[in-house]
Amino acid sequence: MSEQNLVTIYIDGQPVQAPAGTPIVEAAKAAGIEIPVFCHHSKLTPVGMCRMCLVRVGTPARTRTGELELDENGNPVIRWFPRLMTGCTTPVSEGMHVEVNIPEVQDAWRGTLEFLLTSHPLDCPVCDKGGECPLQDLTFAYGPDLSRFYKPYKLHFEKPIPLSELIWLDRERCIYCSRCIRFCDEIANDPVLDFADRGRGQHIVSVSEIPFDSYFSGNTTDICPVGALTTEDFRFKARVWELNNVPSICPHCPVGCNIVIGERAGEIKRIMPRQNEWVNEIWICDKGRFGHHFVSAEDRLTTPLIKGEDGQFRDVTWGEALEYVANRLSAVIAADGPSAVGGIAGGRAANEDLYLFVKFFRDVLGSPNIDHRVAWPVGTGIEQAVAEVGLASESNLNGLGKGTTILMVGTDVNEAQPVTYLRVRKARRNGASVIVAQARRVKEHAEATHTLDYRVGGEAHAVVALLKAVLARVDEPFGAYKKLSGKDEVLVALEALSQDDLLAQAGSTADAVEAAADAIATAEHVVVMIGREALVGAGVNAPTLVDALVALLTATGKAGQPNSGLMALWPHNNTQGANDMGVLPHLLPGYEPADAIGADIDAMLNGTAGLKAMYIMAADPVRDRPGSRAVLENLEFLVVQDIFLTETAQLADVVLPAAAFAERDGTYTSYERRVQRMDEALQPPGDAMPDWWILAQLAERFDAAWPLYTLADDVMQEIAKQVKIYKKMTYDNLEGEPIEWSTTAARHHIYTGTATLNSWFGRQWEVAAEARRPKFALRWHELQPVPTAEGLRAVPQTRLYDNGTLIRRSTLLDQRRARPEVVLSAVDAEPLGVQSGDLVRLARNGVQVEAPARIDKGVPPGIVIVPVDVDGTEWNALTGGGLESPVVKIEKAV
């Protein structure tokens, strides 16, 4: 809000400034004056239905000619509204007077509370909301001492009923504020809650096919101002005031939602959102909220294991395990040289771990064979591209609106990075244009102002066509960056391509491309999101797809500008950090080109790298890429460091037990390159230790001259010194002053719910394009024609609740876990004689799986959608674990 539209109002005579149009309660809250609310929520549109926030309001009287009327003392005459007004729906205007501390208003508050409590069960002692309940707190502050309602006449409902297996509804506690309904409608776009019946019999219902069918259902329990909605996870688990609230970062996806771990007696009792208005505001998805049970799983690794001659693991001490690993690795290096050793570190590990992993391989072992991209295609150039034209630092994805165009290519954020959906929706509601480029229907189509349909395989062609159309609208392409090399080559290459050809190859229409180009060319900010599906679908043309996106952002001059840039929707929470730390065969930490280029993950896992030993940390290639099993089995020596005995770990000679995210300090870097801190909430089980600690101990066995790292902080200090882009990323720097966001106040649970206050906001690092004179080279790879194959292409789809290592341990989610299925169009189903529910058989390269079919309007002919990682390795083998979109044979199984 600009300064100009600030107005001054007087609350009980005290002048308060606020932007014109702000609801009175928000203006008061910002000034530290509490006006109690229930239905009002800072993130939702006002409804004014609970009638809690009544205040007396007057505005300066004006004469017929519009002049202020003045009294004998020269003060404006105030015209008071004849009745009390709801402060949540009355916008402030210049000179408005509001009275709060007067008997009439206080009576009204008392009265509304008495009404709300008439049928309330007053079961606070057994209510999970007790201790953080707005109804309880506001009743203490403003309510009557005694109710005049006769207890026997209280209206009773059956005590809590499940809205789903995750969320319980106690209709007796409900005060009908409709916050939950409005959250589902407005924020999540999952309109699966509503009121049924009317009057006093009114109650919340959900009869969606899947109960409370939303990936955001848990948020309703946070914003419920009473204990009507509670989670199965936290119900009766602890009193809120006993919890130790530890700030952390969600370990599930690259959004990097800020969370709070509610710990008690060494256990996670609940996960709640931690407010960060730049990241997740006050929301998290249900995977983040309920997917923490892996931490306390029975089958966590608790001691180092060495496999004996008999093939059985035995427990050993850290000393023995580390000694053994050092000896065996040294032996391999002595015999075959360092390049016989390869390392995989998953994008789930923290930056500190990944940094030391790289340091251990490149400096101690002397091997450049390192990679993290188990679940991501190699050779696309996307890692480098993000470092060059990534979303600029100081960008605020939640502040996007009018003037912004978001281009989403091959994304399915609701399944893969859910809170991204909320951000895109918010931006669109605030006026942003959203271009959804996809081969199939996904939830973000609901937010699309423009759609750019293409056929699978035509992704790069569609984007190149878009680039050409954008260039035609830009006066001086690349004009903003004089030092970029390669731009002429790009222009020449584009010139040579016929738009008609591109469109034909892409299967897109000229109209769609032109409209999208308009939206991009006229935008002030351009955010590009690219999903794995697009890179996988583009196949050999994936590098060109990435080249084209870099060219698009630079040609329009958006690269490096705040609120513009490229985001890759990585598969893991810290894939970005793995790139930054240089867990790549060709790049050093901070994207410095490496002299020694190692084998990439494909070469390591398909055997062409000829490795003799491997060290795998926080990754499970046997599951994700079933083809790698034979290669790993044939190694002379395999070390696996993980929190579970994964399928890969079972093949290992040594297994080292690691600490889970909640059991250690560290940092993760989100997909917007925001480096964020988390704190240790629990002790690791048994002898499990943080990954960085294990690596440091091991380096010592190699007599490496590493400094003594006693805390993760020590590692981060070194990263800040050694890795230029991380120079500001010390733990101190990642912390900010606690912010009273415009949506919070001293007792902010009353206004926004129970999301916790925050002071750790993280920080984005600067991409190359942000330099005063950006210089990097544009690349261009020749486009190959889209292969036309007979048969159907299987398009792998990430599902939020898959059967992955971590999420599998939250049995709470079993009911909604994605099962194997084959989703196809009616057009393709018909000749096969297949109807929804029929079993079909998919076959490829001798692998064969069966699953029920589902016919879906959103799937175009020619492809079948198969979920990734929802079953055993066979399923992943057929579907390529998400990294291929193979042509499959499909038939009805009988």
Partner: protein
């Protein structure tokens, strides 16, 4: 005063529900006259006529139309045929017997505000009236009064019926809009007012059946003609529906300023069974009750407001001297309790509480405290409800308490039973 049949014309002209009969008696002349004028001129004439809304609030119709922004399209007209206010039965009578006059009025109103679609929101129970409307719409269409490019003026209009399904609150205009759009029939926040943002956030005017049925006459004969009845501020006639304890209940179309005494004792034949008069409710159940002392009040919006009641829907409910006022209040509050939409706390909880207390009182279990509490709860609802429904529920109680409070205390048991307060 003599009855004047501007609306209840079927009482003088048999079969006026048939198109030919209607036309033979000046039907669609008003529309013809309107179409020869500019929309603004039509609005001006209606403003000059002083016609006030017959749905309950009595807001000047032409003024309401004037709030509609000119440059936003499409616009909508909604004919409020929800007629759910207890004591009100005039709209149904008009539509069942004289439907063309309403259709003509709708077309005139739509033309004036330049709406291209009109919905008639009719009560779910009105099956015969709906048939009559369908037929009248078809006839009007067949004769070129509806559809594309009406009478070559370039103005187009379609009229559709939207059938309500049993919720009094959907008579309230914004709840009605929600109901048409397929949402719960709960009222919307105002502002924005429907004239600016109504159906699908487009400008929308909502008018009552009786209001709209007055338009053909006004357009055909002019504003001055209409002003020959009634008063300066409340011109024209009104259909007063008399129910309750009178000899001749029914509808009486009279100049607006007929007094309650004349209506009840002359037209409706006085109190039935030779009993005495006790009270009357002048404008549908939501209008606070009045007594003997108010019998000479003219039944205009303004005169009734001046004595603390309201003109409302024109339904006059007459109560004889043998009626138990606590029971009467109970019946009224039971209605609001049943019809409260549940959106706002004072109404949802307040009507429940009121009814609970009244149940105790009329069943002989009540105490003096209950009667006092009833008054206090009603006061606590006052001016806090989201919409007038809740306010009516407390208003009717307060009015009965004011005039007949003593009688309510007579129900109280001598020995108060202590009901423990809770919380």
């Amino acid at each position: 005063m003599e009855q004047v049949y501007l609306l209840l014309r079927h009482r003088e002209i048999p079969n006026i529900d048939e198109y030919d009969v209607y036309v033979a008696n000046g039907g669609y002349e008003g529309l013809k006259a309107a179409l020869e004028k500019s929309p603004d001129e039509v609005i001006d004439i209606v403003k000059q006529s002083g016609l006030r809304g017959r749905g309950g609030a009595g807001f000047p119709t032409g003024v309401k139309w004037g709030f509609v922004p000119k440059d936003i399209f499409p616009k909508y007209l909604v004919c409020n045929f929800a007629e759910g206010e207890p004591g009100t039965f005039k709209d149904r009578e008009i539509v069942e017997n004289n439907p063309h006059q309403l259709i003509e009025g709708i077309i005139i109103a739509a033309y004036a505000i330049q709406a291209s679609t009109a919905y008639i929101y009719h009560r779910g129970e009105f099956s015969y009236a709906a048939q009559q409307l369908q037929k009248a719409i078809a006839d009007a269409k067949a004769h070129g009064w509806l559809g594309e490019n009406i009478q070559g003026t370039g103005f187009s209009l379609n009229i559709y019926l939207h059938r309500e399904a049993g919720a009094y609150i959907c008579g309230e205009e914004t709840a009605q809009l929600n109901s048409i759009e397929g949402y719960l029939g709960q009222p919307r926040l105002k502002p924005p007012f429907p004239a600016v943002e109504g159906l699908w956030r487009k400008p929308t005017v909502i008018n009552n059946v009786e209001t709209l049925s007055n338009l053909p006459g006004i357009l055909r004969h002019g504003a001055d003609w209409y002003r020959q009845w009634g008063t300066e501020k409340n011109p024209g006639t009104r259909i007063y529906g008399v129910s309750g304890h009178v000899v001749r209940p029914g509808l009486y179309e009279l100049p607006t300023n007929v007094t309650a005494r004349e209506l009840i004792f002359e037209h409706a034949g006085g109190i039935w069974k030779g009993r005495g008069f006790k009270a009357f409710i002048p404008g549908g159940v939501s209008a606070p009750i009045l007594t003997e002392e108010h019998l000479d009040t003219p039944l205009t919006f303004d005169d009734l407001a001046a004595v603390g009641s309201m003109g409302g829907s024109g339904g006059v409910i007459v109560i004889d001297d043998q009626t138990d006022m606590a029971w009467l209040t109970y019946k009224m509050v039971a209605f609001y309790r049943h019809e409260s939409c549940g959106k706002c706390s004072p109404c949802r909880e307040g009507t429940y509480w009121q009814k609970m207390l009244l149940t105790r009182i009329v069943s002989g279990r009540g105490t003096r405290t209950d009667v006092e509490l009833l008054k206090q709860v009603s006061d606590q609802m006052t001016n806090k409800c989201f919409c007038p429904l809740g306010e009516s529920s407390r208003g009717v109680v307060q009015a009965v308490y004011k005039y007949f409070g003593d009688e309510m205390y007579l129900h109280a048991k001598d020995i108060p039973v202590v009901e423990a307060g809770t919380q």
